[in-house]
Amino acid sequence: MIKIQEEDFNSEDEINKIKKLHSNIGAVSSFIGYVRDENNSKEVTSINLEVYQEMAYKQFEKIINKANLKWKLEDSLIIHRYGKLEVNSKIVLVACFSKHRKDSFESCNFIMDYLKKEAPFWKNEFYADKNEWLVNSN
């Protein structure tokens, strides 16, 4: 499942909704990314996250398809927020569902790697006195 939304999400509920569909899932590996109060030694007050929605859906589908070719997954979930996000807000949730741990673990990392490099989102970081567009380093 892929969701691109402004609203916050509840990771327990979102993971449960998918887990419920499969009684053979033994492993869920997940990653949550948050807005930090500090970046590159500057105090962050909030970010504005811009998205190219149509492309983001398409790219997320592609990466999930790739992950399914490499690992045995029962299901997968990407939720990526956009818009104005305060410090401590969740930005992204990636969760991978499999029978065994290795598949969920490796695919979750793979999806995050790809997402950081290719998902069409742009962070505009706000500091006390100015703002700045970021570039992902990893």
């Binding site: 811009e50 149509e54 983001a56 990526h80 069409p120 989102f121 742009w122 992902n136």
Partner: protein
């Protein structure tokens, strides 16, 4: 064709998107030339190869033919996640 701009590219174009239809633009390289002429401040970024191009929501690196109903996006390196 529809051109979309994202992040700080919009600060240079002062537009989020626009419709461009010119007989001169038959492929991506020709579009790049057209864009630089229209927005000279994009030239230095184009030269440094910091701009990314997507055609119909797919990344494109090499030159590629364009048709009138293509959606082309021009944006800086991404920073999601």
């Amino acid at each position: 064709m529809k051109i979309k701009y994202f992040a700080w590219i919009k600060d240079i174009t002062n537009l989020e998107e626009e419709e461009i239809n010119s007989n001169r633009i038959k492929n991506l390289d020709e579009l790049k030339i057209f864009i630089i002429e229209k927005y000279p401040n994009l030239n230095k970024h184009m030269k440094k190869e910091v701009l990314r191009f997507a055609i119909n929501q797919e990344y494109v690196i090499k030159n590629i033919n364009l048709s009138d109903n293509d959606e082309i996006a021009i944006f800086p390196p991404v920073s999601g996640g």
